[in-house]
């Protein structure tokens, strides 16, 4: 058990190093950092002195090591565009994206799991066929079109919900949250649904497939024969056993949720990391691009570690065996 977690930790460190290397290469080889930092009036001698001062003439490996240590100490450098520290810029944007992503994930679970169970238990019902058809179309419609449709229906036609921004936010510690005001929730709803739709269909199909598989197994038949009440049978015996693959996929998809929030944030002008990333691409703001990449990878690695720990909580067999 301890060995398993340690192994995962080492793997995670290697993934982070690989991503840091990618970000570093971006810094170093896409455009010249010196020309980005200085103006046209800077003399060549000054430029060379700056290059020497910043250590850009040092061997590559040393530069990379310095880069990594700086990052570990929270020093992410400065943006070419705004001249602000990148760490601050990103930290300001993280709450918006995380809240959006997590609410989207919760929506997809709250709807996807029951829908998956229902369609698995009544495979021939009319509602099942309707749900399955809808998800097939839903998968083919691009995220931004779903966003536009929601804006059109609920924002423009019905006028129920705001279509851009975060509504009211509250400062809690350094965390700017929109989860504590009604305005904030109203602004959050449409983007979260947009982001959650794809995850929802995925969760539903997965739960359905797993559920149908489990319902055919011997222990369920035996429980049925023993006269276990159907409700308990479905939710305690069957559903609990579908959770391991479901959690794995959701964990793997969380990186996708954060990445797709780039599109959702753009449609709804949601001031999160994705919008910042888009701006940094448009202005070739390499430091911000690189750090965004590292932060995304960090979330990805973190979520996967949590998923591994959750296995242990869900599947008692893992606690005994030393895998």
């Amino acid at each position: 058990m301890v060995y398993f977690i340690l192994k995962r930790l080492v793997q995670s460190v290697f993934v982070m190093l690989a991503v840091a290397f990618l970000a570093f290469s971006l810094f170093r080889f896409v455009g010249d950092p010196i020309t980005q930092m200085t103006g046209v009036e800077t003399s060549v001698a000054d430029q060379e002195r700056l290059r020497e001062d910043l250590g850009l003439n040092d061997p590559f490996v040393f530069q990379f090591m310095r880069f990594t240590t700086d990052m570990l100490q929270g020093d992410f450098g400065f943006s070419y565009r705004t001249r602000q520290p990148v760490a601050e810029m990103i930290a300001d944007r993280i709450p918006a994206t995380l809240e959006l992503g997590i609410v989207a994930l919760l929506i997809s679970l709250a709807v996807g799991v029951p829908a998956g169970v229902y369609t698995a238990l009544r495979p021939k019902g009319f509602a099942t066929q309707a749900i399955l058809m809808t998800t097939l179309v839903g998968v083919s419609i691009p995220t931004f079109v779903i966003g536009i449709m929601l804006i059109f229906i609920f924002g423009v036609q019905l006028g129920w919900l705001p279509t851009f921004g975060r509504g009211g936010t509250v400062q809690i510690g350094g965390w700017e949250s929109s989860l504590f005001t009604i305005e904030g929730w109203r602004a959050l709803l449409l983007p979260a649904i947009t982001l959650g739709v794809y995850q929802l269909t995925l969760t539903m199909r997965l739960v359905r497939a797993e559920m149908m598989e489990v319902m055919r197994s011997d222990y369920i038949r035996f429980a049925m024969a023993r006269g276990v009440p159907m409700r308990k049978l479905h939710y305690r015996h069957a559903l609990a056993n579908t959770m391991v693959p479901v959690i794995t996929i959701i964990g793997l998809q969380f990186g996708g949720v954060i990445a797709f929030s780039i599109v959702t944030e753009s449609v709804f002008q949601w001031p999160g990391m994705g919008l910042l990333f888009l701006e940094s691409i448009r202005f070739v703001d390499i430091p911000v691009m690189g750090v965004y990449l590292v932060v995304i990878a960090f979330f990805f690695v973190l979520v996967n570690l949590i998923v591994d720990l959750l296995y242990v909580a869900i599947d008692p067999r893992l606690r005994v065996k030393d895998v």
Binding site: L136, I141, V145, I148, V263, V284
Partner: protein, 301 residues
Amino acid sequence: MVAFLKRYEGLWLFVHSPAAIIAAIVAMLIVSGAAFAPWIAQVNPYDLSSFSLFDGLLPPFWQEGANPQYLLGTDDQGRDMISSILYGVRLSLIIGLAALAIAAVLGVGLGLAAGYYGGRFDAIVMRIADVQLALPAILTALLIDGIARGILPASMQQDLRVAVLTVAIALSLWVNFARTARASTFVQMNKEYVQAAIMMGQRPSRVMFVHILPNILGPLLVIMTVDLASAILLEATLSFLGIGLPADSPSLGTLIRIGMQFLLSGEWWILWFPTLFLVALVVSINILGDFLRDVFNPRLR
């Protein structure tokens, strides 16, 4: 006729699947409309002299105030919507198909070689593939686009936009091909015909491309259809985000982005017709992909 159809199982299944037939018809219509756009479209959306501002913002034909010459209405510049859409689909398809071709050549080549040689080469290719799979395609494409902006001189940016976009999409899609080709190659490697070919001393390239490749085309074809849909969606998304193509050479995504500006005013057709074409195209390609998967996977029948 029936006997002929039964000999070709795929065709037999096809005429018995109404969804696949409808999808094929819709896809054919849109694709041929795009292919013949320069001859069908009454207006060339790239040519400023072929339309006039006086025809701007006309609604589609069934609404009041429409000019029957413009069936689906016009945009704010007076461009005929049908013409813009046909040219837009044309551009989207060109980019999608080119990206797909690059991804397929790269992915299948690497996958075949990885499956054939195994060992260290295989390990390296698959580790790269793993890392890339962890990053969603849209993120990869955005990054490559950003890097290209940093490397290319400003004067070439505009001219190379289509090429950059194509390469960005191709590089985010090759992994699927590589993994499928590799897995299928592994299966074929154990077959006697491949072993015989190797024993006879044929060159590796000949064994890979003449012997193995034809036998793994089935699954690759499925990936190709599904990835064509992904490529079109990716291009549309990038252009929608304003990272892809500029407004003077609009693809479907760019048209939708422009149409977004009319979301709050009454000119709904500028937004919804391009959207409708995009969704119809992608949905029908996806349905065809599902159908092909069933044909090549008899277990699912």
